[in-house]
């Protein structure tokens, strides 16, 4: 198979890589670019652990081909903190002890960030529906939802 050359923007920076035509964006991120924050929980679109945004749209990177990223803007969990400063969502996940094994956490943060960018004041129901494609086998979700609600409140400056 001949590899494909891809130029794209990743967390604001231009990047280039070579990938196989049938290689997923998740595999490119993890195995070629060393960005292992996005996790593979299922590889079939069911768990959301691999969540990233492509041109601002939340997607499962396990269901995107690496080749599709050409000229797109990709945002991953690695772009969420500003240097040493955690994003409010990251801080609130810690404050609420909303993680155990942590495999689901990057996906939840990327997904919740996409929600709050669209809707800074979601109801609990809206949070739960938006995050329905993010599975967590440890926490029972409650703490995650509370952390997101709390982060939203803080980000609104309330």
């Amino acid at each position: 198979m001949s590899q494909i050359h891809v130029s794209t923007t990743l967390n604001g920076d231009p990047v280039e890589y070579l990938c196989e035509p049938d290689e997923t964006l998740l595999d490119v991120l993890r195995d070629r670019l060393g960005l292992t924050g996005s996790k593979e929980g299922c590889g079939s679109g069911d768990c959301g652990a691999c969540s990233v945004t492509v041109d601002g749209r939340l997607v499962c990177s396990c269901l995107v081909l690496g080749a599709e990223a050409q000229d797109r803007e990709i945002e991953t969990i690695e772009g969420v903190a500003q240097g040493e400063n955690l994003h409010p969502l990251q801080q609130k996940i810690l404050d609420h002890a909303a993680l155990q094994c942590g495999v689901c956490t990057p996906g939840f943060i990327v997904a919740a960030k996409a929600l709050l960018e669209r809707n800074p004041d979601p109801s609990e129901t809206e949070v739960r529906y938006w995050l329905a494609g993010n599975l967590c086998r440890c926490t029972g979700y409650d703490k995650i939802v509370r952390a997101v609600m709390d982060a939203a409140q803080e980000m609104r400056g309330a």
């Binding site: 035509p21 049938d22 679109g45 959301g48 396990c62 269901l63 995107v64 081909l65 997904a111 329905a132």
Partner: protein, 285 residues
């Protein structure tokens, strides 16, 4: 596998028509990538249609809307015009998967994947939607109903691409709705899906109706008898009961772990009745 992302429809059709081995269209990839990764399919060529500008658009046309084949569920849901004219089609499409899946999944992909349980298809059939297909022999329009011919099977010829779905204009007092039964509240495959579209006259009497069912036969069904018993009524209890009976009678479902034949047959009637009630409420405005 070869991956191509042409910028024109002509180039996409030529790539598909000239492909030596198995070729597939890639829209949102939410079915295709799953099938690719599991080894269920091994295409030699994948043609990504998302770089073709005209397929990314929703355009108003003759009082209805033409939805490009590369428009995602999320984009459709953000379109106020389509939401207002065909709320049932939008709600059915928005039921597909999670937020992440919505960011990619298309109506045309849902149709061409040809699952009998595809959520948007009964709503499109109830809407009497048309698929525009472009291939090596030119352009043709066909009823959405005639695209999927059985589980995983379509009537598309070699090199043919669904380029858009057309949702027609409708009279003022019209409404549609889609409901599905799943064992959870979201993120699951329909055990039964039911879509109803109605138009009413000034007195609130039904003058036109279409009833469609998913997941209860090898293809999505159009239930003519269900429409017949609604027309001329104001959706009184007798009409609702007749609709439920007609919907159940049309079913020829499978038995599986998701639902038995008896359960699916019964639930099809219940959902058709409830979808009709919502469609009527929407039609009254």
């Amino acid at each position: 596998m070869q991956y191509e992302a042409p910028q024109t429809l002509d180039a996409a059709v030529a790539l598909l028509a000239d492909a030596r081995g198995a070729a597939r269209v890639l829209a949102g990839g939410t079915d295709l990538l799953v099938q690719l990764r599991s080894g269920a399919i091994e295409p030699d060529l994948v043609v990504d249609i998302k770089r073709i500008d005209e397929l990314k658009k929703i355009t108003a046309e003759d009082g209805g809307y033409r939805i490009g084949a590369a428009v995602s569920g999320a984009e459709l849901g953000e379109h106020e015009g389509v939401r207002a004219l065909w709320p049932g089609v939008v709600e059915a499409t928005e039921l597909i998967g999670s937020t992440q899946v919505q960011g990619r999944a298309t109506m045309a992909g849902n149709l061409c994947n040809a699952s009998p349980a595809a959520d948007s298809v009964p709503a499109m059939v109830a809407a009497d939607a048309t698929a525009r297909i472009v291939g090596p022999d030119g352009v043709r329009d066909t009823s959405v109903r005639d695209v999927a011919t059985g589980p995983g099977q379509t009537s598309l010829g070699r090199g043919e691409i669904v380029v858009s779905i057309f949702l027609p204009a409708r009279p003022a007092r019209s409404g549609d709705a889609y409901l599905r039964f799943i064992p959870r509240t979201e993120m699951d495959i329909a055990v039964v899906g039911a879509a109803v579209s109605v138009s009413l006259d000034d007195e609130g009497t039904c003058v036109a109706a279409r009833v469609s069912l998913g997941a209860v036969a090898a293809r999505v069904l159009l239930v003519d008898e269900g429409a017949r018993v609604l027309i001329g009524t104001k959706l009184d209890d007798d009409a609702l009961q007749a609709l439920a009976a007609a919907a159940s009678a049309a079913c020829s479902p499978i038995n599986d772990k998701r639902g038995t034949i008896e359960f699916r047959t019964d639930v099809a009637g219940v959902l058709a009745r409830r979808a009709a009630q919502t469609a009527f409420e929407r039609a009254k405005g």
